[in-house]
């Protein structure tokens, strides 16, 4: 190679060094808090005491279970609501598309704290005092979570439907004699499975970590539990934080795995 070309590639290598620094600084900023959390969780006199305490605490499990159950309910309800709607809009009433898209955008515009504010105001008195009962409050919580998940679910399913040309599939199924339930359950849903799963995992992560709505509805969820722990104990919060982080990581990894096999990517934005 000539001198000129050799000089050029050396320059390219040197330039890379700066970018390595940029990357490493960023990575450091992200890992240090996690390392600090880990270290804090291990500072107990008896090693791993924080973890054993937490894992032996029945409250931990009941809160975790409660949030998990809410997550599952949210996912089921969200899928049951979004998939047929997205499909119907795409196929039969495309003119209503702007309306539906606007509604699915609203949760982005309404901060969760404002949403729960409104929900409490509406459902704390007559005619439907949901807030008054345990079941009602939980129902309200799940409903709020479905609302929160709408943007991601709808977007993912819509993209998935577009990429599988749902119109042609429907027409083919109809010409073969299928009715609507069959079409949705056997033709459409299996083909947007990837998109739905991505949305489901994201919803799971959001619900598990959610604090604001659960807190103001006085629900025995995982988020408020962690907050309470953080204000009362020293080392246990660190352990639970890491467990929570681990759960989120698993959910995201599942999205990546599922997403690789399908279309309908979900952008991961969640609780703050």
């Amino acid at each position: 190679m000539s001198e000129q070309a050799a000089a050029r590639s050396a320059q390219r290598r040197r330039g890379s060094a700066i970018w390595w620094v940029v990357l490493l600084v960023g990575v450091a900023y992200f890992t240090v808090p996690l390392v600090a959390t880990l270290q804090f969780s291990l500072r107990t006199k008896v090693p791993f005491a924080a973890y054993t305490n937490v894992l032996q605490d029945p409250v931990f499990w009941s809160r975790l279970g409660y949030s998990a159950m809410c997550a599952v309910c949210t996912i089921v309800l969200s899928v049951a609501l979004v998939v047929p709607t997205a499909y119907w809009v795409r196929l039969k009433v495309p003119r209503l598309r702007p309306v539906v898209e606007f509604i699915t955008l609203l949760p982005f515009v309404i901060p969760p704290v404002v949403l729960v504010f409104g929900l409490i105001r509406v459902y704390s008195g007559n005619p439907i005092p949901l807030v008054a009962t345990e079941l009602g409050s939980t129902a309200l919580l799940v409903a709020a979570y479905v609302v929160l998940s709408l943007p991601y679910m709808y977007r993912a399913v819509d993209t998935g439907l577009r990429s599988i040309d749902s119109q042609s599939l429907t027409e083919a199924a109809q010409s073969l004699g299928a009715g609507w339930p069959t079409i949705i359950l056997r033709v459409i849903l299996p083909n947007v499975r990837g998109a739905v799963l991505s949305g489901a995992f994201l919803t799971f992560a959001i619900v598990m970590g959610e604090f604001t709505i659960a807190n103001f509805l006085f629900r025995p969820a995982f988020g408020p539990y962690l907050s309470l722990l953080g204000n009362s104990k020293t080392y246990e919060p660190a352990a639970v934080s890491l467990i929570s982080f681990g759960l989120t990581w698993v959910a995201m990894a599942m999205i990546a795995i599922v997403g690789r096999q399908s279309r309908g990517r979900v952008s991961a934005v969640g609780v703050r």
Binding site: W20, L34, L91, K92, P111, V116, F211, L226, R272
Partner: protein, 300 residues
């Protein structure tokens, strides 16, 4: 002479023509409309209407006028400042990191882990994040103690505190940065190799290419992302609540306090504040959408 009849449309066949006759097809999305009506639109309307109503029930604009109360103005200003700073910092550093793994010649395999991690980190907000930073930079945090024991610098004596506005901004960047990476990575991918080669071929140096071609093309995406980050921080509540409890006037936290009890001594004012937040978020999302469309148009 055979009359060619139009194919008989069964009730199931998709309606190809936009409904020139009365169509009941919209009933298909009724469940969705009912649900969003009950749990999204109704609460919002309640707040909207409530913001225009005073204690006695009559219409008024006084609630909005009351938004000029000094403590509320301070809350707006502080929230906007925190959101702006964390958004700009997240935009700048996030762009650099995304560029680093995509275009800067670093090994290709770095990208996937970074993007996955960005997905996780952008969701790690709220209570666990606040706690993690307390463990890092709190008075007995890992980094705090490290700096004290190794360099003799005790941050809290130097005037730094995690529990200030600056500390909050620092924490917010933790979920802003990854969000930026997730948003801008596809846009950077969208910089077609052809454009760079065409520019090179026409005589442009790398700097000229970036100045005249790449950055202008990326600008709508960058600005859109920055605005989205702003909105993201603006609506955040859990992180600030856990970290500062209420000592730093963040709008979302104030509204939370209002939910727990009438701390503003005027429910209508609370509604107006909530509406104020919604308006700001609405403007932000609106700008984002406009910029997204522009970016898409160019990348065709």
């Amino acid at each position: 002479m055979t009359a060619v009849t139009a194919t008989a449309t069964t009730q199931d066949a998709p309606d190809a023509r936009p409904g020139s006759r009365r169509s009941w097809a919209w009933l298909g999305i009724l469940p969705f409309l009912v649900f969003s009506g009950l749990f999204l639109l109704l609460p919002i309307s309640f707040l909207v209407i409530g913001s225009f109503v005073d204690r006695s029930g009559s219409l008024t604009l006084q609630n909005y006028a009351d938004l000029s109360r000094p403590d509320i103005v301070l809350a707006f200003r502080t929230t906007i400042e925190v959101s702006l700073v964390s958004a700009l910092a997240g935009t700048f550093v996030g762009f650099l990191m995304a560029y680093a793994v995509i275009l800067a010649g670093l090994p290709k395999w770095l990208r996937a882990p970074l993007v996955t991690f960005a997905g996780v980190a952008s969701n790690f907000a709220g209570v666990p994040l606040a706690l993690a930073f307390i463990f890092t930079l709190g008075q007995l945090g890992l980094v705090t103690l490290f700096l004290r024991d190794t360099f003799g610098i005790y941050l809290y004596q130097q005037g730094f505190s995690l529990y200030t506005q600056v500390g909050l901004e620092l924490v917010y960047v933790y979920f802003q940065l990854p969000l930026m990476i997730l948003i801008i990575a596809p846009a950077i991918d969208g910089l077609k190799r052809d454009w760079r080669e065409a520019a090179e071929n026409l005589g442009a140096s790398p700097r000229q290419y970036w100045r005249y071609v790449a950055l202008p093309i990326l600008m709508p995406s960058l600005m859109g992302a920055a605005i989205l980050l702003f909105g993201n921080a603006f609506g955040a509540q859990a992180t600030a609540y856990q970290l500062t409890g209420g000592t730093i006037p963040i709008l979302a936290v104030k509204i939370g306090a209002q939910i727990s009890g009438d701390v503003l001594r005027n429910v209508g004012l609370g509604y107006a504040m909530a509406m104020g937040m919604v308006v700001v978020m609405g403007v932000a999302i609106g700008c984002y959408i406009v910029l997204q469309r522009k970016a898409e148009r160019w990348s065709r």
